[in-house]
Symmetry: C2
Subunit: 312 residues, 2 copies
């Protein structure tokens, strides 16, 4: 049996005996608080758009790790980078490191060190240490909870899709959806506000549908999502229409939106809305199904979804 | 200017404006203690001998990170692995993860999570969190300090050298030097004992000569090393003689000995020796030179040494 016969999700499930993970990050009780630990690797062929500048690549490896910290409602403390690349101009390397440092500074994270290696493809493994007195887990959802998200959905995926059909030498036209694809920003502030109100939380960088599964599957719960409620960005709508892309499909299955997906009891909603613009998109159900309901009240089943490493 | 024009050491020096590193690990004051953070990447073409089993590869990525923790006199807390490999049998992957888990357990470290990616070459980035109330730095050496090491020198490098000339399908003959090359063990217990006595410490995985430079250069100090005092392992001596290898050269410049190099004031020596077998090999000098003194009292200058990423 090859790794490609399994795919990343099943591989991780099979490791359950070794690792008690199953959340966005590891969390370890330390004195009177929890240390939050996460690692995310970005790889030239998989995660890096040819249109990204070296600085944007540096910011990206920080952001993907920060987003995991945000999804735990935690504060970042420090970042380390294990860097690998082929030989390149020192200026490129410096730009990448500048991107790392700038993004760390922006989110009040100490860029604390790393390791430098020569590899055939750009391979960047980021490690983030954070802290939370009460980490918000994926597994805390309750039946009847509202399901909500920060920001808008599908923009990064639409931007990426179009960029992949655009020569890297072309500067992408001016549309915020491209920024979301090339320089995603984690929802740190939002995570810290939401942690006071929500029962469960994760980020949706692997796609909303995948993250909905993560929030519900293990508990044997399901979810009902009202497609008309999905928050779509006006700039991305224009872009999707111009390029004949199905915005809803991108919002459900597309990757790269570093937004937070969370559940909360209905009585907390007004308090959250007073603190933060969020969008309720559905609710947690007792029946183990994830259902999408369209404007004609038709029910759609979730499709197999999301990019998985080793899944062909 | 290419990265290969600089080499890893100069690259890191040029990053000084971004990173206040310059030690084996990062250390961050946290409540009444220090959190110790380190990352080391191992890459198929650079660090992995074809003779290593998958389990040994898994153990290796833990050991290289543990050794950095040991060199700070710190205790390990948790390990994360960012895993990358081509598609392979699940059994290989499982063996590697088993090697990670077993090595973490052996040194009382929680294997807390990670990330899984498909890459063209095996690329493993480990991240270790540790703790120390008083980290031992590289920079604490004092003029007149004795220089000492744990264990023996050159064995791993001699074992590696011979293995690289042996087909991977051949089981290496029974000699402990091969074990040191294939399954190095970090000096965790020793680091925790030594921290009570030493003024400075580092590990010598990049070679004794490189580590001597690390301990002295920044302070403007030098070192005098008595070559006859270098501790050599009897099994490795046999192997070096059989293969016409210069043991002293391997002890000075060879890599892969996960021993600790440290300095201490002379009056602490008896206490350390009562607690731990160590070998004094020289002393810290005020003159910015590193000198090796042979049995005829001839003085030798240090050579440019140690593997450096990007250095061709």
């Amino acid at each position: 049996m090859k790794l490609s016969d399994l795919g990343e999700k099943k591989i991780i499930k099979k490791l359950a005996g070794y690792l008690d993970i199953g959340d966005d990050t590891a969390y370890i009780k330390f004195k009177d608080t929890y240390l939050i630990l996460t690692t995310d690797m970005i790889y030239q062929d998989t995660h890096i758009l040819p249109h990204m500048s070296w600085e944007q690549i540096g910011a990206l490896v920080v952001s993907v790790n920060l987003s995991d910290i945000a999804s735990m409602g935690a504060e970042p403390i420090a970042f380390l980078l294990a860097y690998g690349s082929p030989d390149t101009d020192y200026e490129n390397f410096k730009s990448l490191i500048h991107g790392v440092k700038t993004q760390c500074d922006k989110y009040h994270t100490k860029y604390a060190g790393g390791d430098t290696n020569k590899t055939e493809k750009i391979t960047l493994a980021g490690f983030m240490l954070g802290e939370s007195e009460k980490p918000v887990l994926r597994s805390g959802a309750k039946i009847g909870d509202l399901i909500a998200v920060t920001g808008t959905l599908g923009s990064a995926s639409i931007g990426t899709k179009i960029l992949l059909n655009t020569p890297a030498s072309n500067k992408p036209p001016d549309n915020p959806a491209y920024n979301k694809a090339l320089q995603p920003q984690p929802r740190m502030k939002e995570g810290l506000i939401l942690k006071e109100y929500v029962n469960s939380m994760t980020d949706i960088s692997d796609g909303l549908a995948t993250s909905l599964t993560d929030l519900t599957e293990e508990r044997g719960f399901g979810a009902e999502i009202i497609l008309d409620k999905l928050p779509l960005d006006a700039d991305a709508i224009t872009l999707a229409q111009e390029n004949r892309l199905n915005h809803i499909e991108h919002a459900l299955y597309g990757e790269g939106d570093y937004e937070l997906l969370f559940t909360l009891s209905e009585e907390k909603l007004d308090d959250v809305l007073a603190a933060l613009p969020i969008t309720v998109i559905g609710s947690i159900k007792a029946n183990q199904k994830i259902t999408f309901i369209d404007s004609q009240k038709n029910k759609h089943k979730i499709k197999k979804c999301g990019y998985e490493h080793f899944k062909t």
